[in-house]
């Protein structure tokens, strides 16, 4: 691990990989071996208690899979996740429930994240039922979580179903459902991307306030640079299943090191219709994630690629005290 990291992070991924088998096809009978998809490839990351980290990347780069691996919603093909120093891969029964109470997820689509047949009241109490919390305390804890996300008390939601609320309200309910278990770590997977622009800031502010007042550690998964800049102190950039750059958000966005991060920042639209923009410095599309390619995953699109990039896979190496980058050229 990197020397700059704290000795005991809250959650830590070590050499985390996830392969998905490509579905069987008729051509398989001819013995054509089709390679697995490497959704996540040897990822190392660590998040300290109370820290807010962003995971930035485009669609399909493996950021959601990383989040699901950290929460043990799927099991890794290689590597492990340590939570409070203990591996989570073998957790089962009561130990798994105890982990679930401490690590929660906020969903991307609030319209799909709540059971349409559960009233709001029941949806909010459901985590407490699942984890075997004494039912006498349910109402108090639900009220507390509602207050934390700045929603009115439970009486206002009595008998209401999810389809009767707005997107912004629903996303706060989804957040409250995670908070009701009093977790120490939250993964927020594109928490506002499905919401109207007008309510995004409200939801993000609530998340930011809740996080700092409760001292929660959070991993924000997003493709949105503005969100990451607004809520994350540190940011990881992911490309094709690998972390390619890491550093304090402000520095990383101001002076990106990896050619991919630079391109990502240049691609952000500017609100001017008559703008003159230089073409993006990268070419082509995301490479195929099937098979584990030799060398750097980004080299085919990279304007700076050298012969070495095709031979040797760049490893994350420290640049200064707080930044790391996986590129031969930087």
């Amino acid at each position: 691990m990197d020397a700059g990291m704290s000795a005991s992070p809250l959650i830590e991924a070590r050499g985390l990989s996830k392969r998905f088998a490509t579905p069987a096809r008729l051509s398989d009978i001819f013995g054509v071996k089709r390679p697995d998809v490497f959704a996540v490839n040897k990822v190392n990351l660590s998040i300290e208690a109370g820290e807010s980290v962003g995971l930035l990347g485009e669609s399909g780069c493996g950021k959601t899979t990383t989040g699901r691996l950290l929460l043990k919603l799927i099991d890794p093909s290689e590597g492990d996740v340590l939570f409070d120093g203990a591996p989570i891969s073998d957790l089962a029964g009561d130990a798994l429930i105890a982990f679930r109470q401490r690590a929660q997820l906020v969903f991307q689509n609030p319209f799909d994240a709540l059971n349409p047949r559960f009233t709001i009241e029941r949806a909010l109490a459901e985590p407490l039922v699942n984890t075997g919390v004494d039912s006498a305390t349910h109402r108090d804890r639900v009220e507390k979580a509602l207050a934390q996300v700045k929603l009115p008390p439970l009486a206002r939601f009595e008998g209401l179903f999810p389809h009767q609320l707005s997107g912004g309200q629903l996303q706060r309910i989804v957040l409250a459902r995670a908070l009701v278990l009093e977790p120490a770590f939250i993964v927020a997977d594109e928490p506002v991307s499905m919401l109207d622009v007008s309510v995004r800031a409200g939801v993000l502010n609530v998340m930011r306030e809740v996080r700092s007042s409760l001292g929660l550690a959070a991993l924000y998964i997003s493709h949105d640079l503005a969100l990451v800049r607004y809520v994350c102190s540190r940011t990881l950039v992911m490309y094709l299943g690998r972390i390619v750059e890491e550093g304090p958000t402000a520095e990383l966005l101001k002076a990106p090191l990896h050619p991919y991060t630079r391109a990502l920042i240049q691609a952000v639209p500017v609100p001017r219709v008559d703008q003159q923009r230089a073409p993006l410095p990268i070419m082509g599309n995301v490479s195929d994630a099937r098979g584990r390619p030799k060398g750097c995953g980004f080299r085919e699109r990279c304007p700076l690629a050298l012969a070495r990039c095709a031979e040797e896979e760049p490893q994350l190496r420290p640049i200064g005290a707080e930044r790391r980058v996986a590129c031969h050229i930087v």
Binding site: L71, L73, L96, I97, R100, Q101, Q104, L105, F107, Q108, N109, D112, A113, L114, N115, P116, R117, E126, P127, N130, T131, E158, G159, L160, F161, H163, Q164, V174, R177, A178, L181
Partner: protein
């Protein structure tokens, strides 16, 4: 209609979910029709002994001592008599018991077996899924009527053969549709939300997945009522029915072999036919209304 949000809020507060559901069913004319047909059928089946004017199998005589055969409707015989002098109205009333019993038993078993297998197959997937679905292929490949006839050969002619056959051969249709629905429901974010908040597989399956496929269970259960009654009628019609039990299918067969059609005795073959149609259709009507109660999002 007032503002639906306000209406929903006040209505939901003052009434329980069940009462609201019942109110919704009663507002839908199709559901009311289906419910009424079932209600009448159940009442007739319960009070059959009081409603019958004659013994349905007894050969009746006129005051002059001659057999009261082929009597037109009216008078002492509400729907007339058969060619052997039996009272058609009393046969129709007695047949309701058989229809109700066969229909309900088959519907419950098809819905229960099909739903359970569909849930397990869709949710757990893999080898469980492969095994259960191959089993359903086998059941689907067995032809229906010959199977019932073979069963009658093994267990004597018995009404329960029909129930067993419907349960054994009709569950795959239900199971496959439910499996397909489970495959989509289990990918929904709220199922993942249940998992991440500590719910066990069984809890996810029965509190998050099952209620969302329940309308299909009802629908296929009601379809099974119709199938069972139709099958029972068909089996009786081809002569493999239970001879000791009066049924609408038996009445049709009796009418057919006695050439009631060519004699134009509509009072003999029409009533059991109409009864079968009504009960089969009632199932569809009720399922239609139940859907809205079970899928809150369909409410306008």
């Amino acid at each position: 209609m007032a503002n639906p949000a306000v209406l929903g809020r006040t209505a939901a507060r003052s009434r329980s979910v069940f009462r609201e559901g019942a109110a919704r069913i009663l507002r839908d004319p199709f559901s009311v029709a289906g419910l009424s047909i079932y209600l009448v059928l159940i009442l007739i089946a319960i009070f059959a002994d009081q409603l019958m004017t004659h013994d349905p199998t007894q050969i009746l005589f006129r005051p002059n001592g001659r057999v009261a055969n082929n009597q037109p409707p009216g008078g002492a015989f509400l729907l007339g008599t058969t060619n052997l002098g039996r009272d058609i109205y009393s046969q129709l009333v007695a047949g309701s018991r058989n229809a109700l019993m066969v229909g309900l038993a088959a519907a419950i078993s098809v819905a229960a077996i099909g739903t359970l297998i569909g849930l397990l197959s869709g949710y757990f997937g893999g080898k469980i899924d492969a095994f259960l679905m191959r089993l359903s292929d086998v059941a689907l490949a067995i032809p229906f009527l010959p199977f019932v006839i073979v069963l009658s050969g093994f267990f004597r002619a018995n009404t329960w053969n029909v129930v067993i056959a419907v349960a054994l051969l009709l569950w795959p249709n239900t199971a496959r549709v439910i499996r397909a629905q489970v495959l989509t429901v289990k990918e929904r974010a709220y199922v993942e939300a249940a998992r991440v908040t500590g719910a066990s597989d069984m809890r996810i399956l029965f509190t998050h997945v099952a209620p969302n496929i329940l309308p299909l269970t009802f629908l296929y259960g009601s379809v099974a009522i119709g199938w069972a009654i139709l099958t029972e009628a068909a089996v009786s019609f081809v002569g493999f029915g239970d001879p000791s039990r009066m049924s609408w299918g038996y009445m049709l067969q009796d009418a057919f072999v006695s050439q009631a059609l060519s004699r134009g005795s509509w009072n003999w073959f029409l009533p059991p036919g109409i009864c079968i149609i009504l009960v089969v259709v009632a199932g569809f009507f009720l399922a239609r209304g139940a859907e809205e109660v079970l899928f809150p999002k369909l409410r306008s």
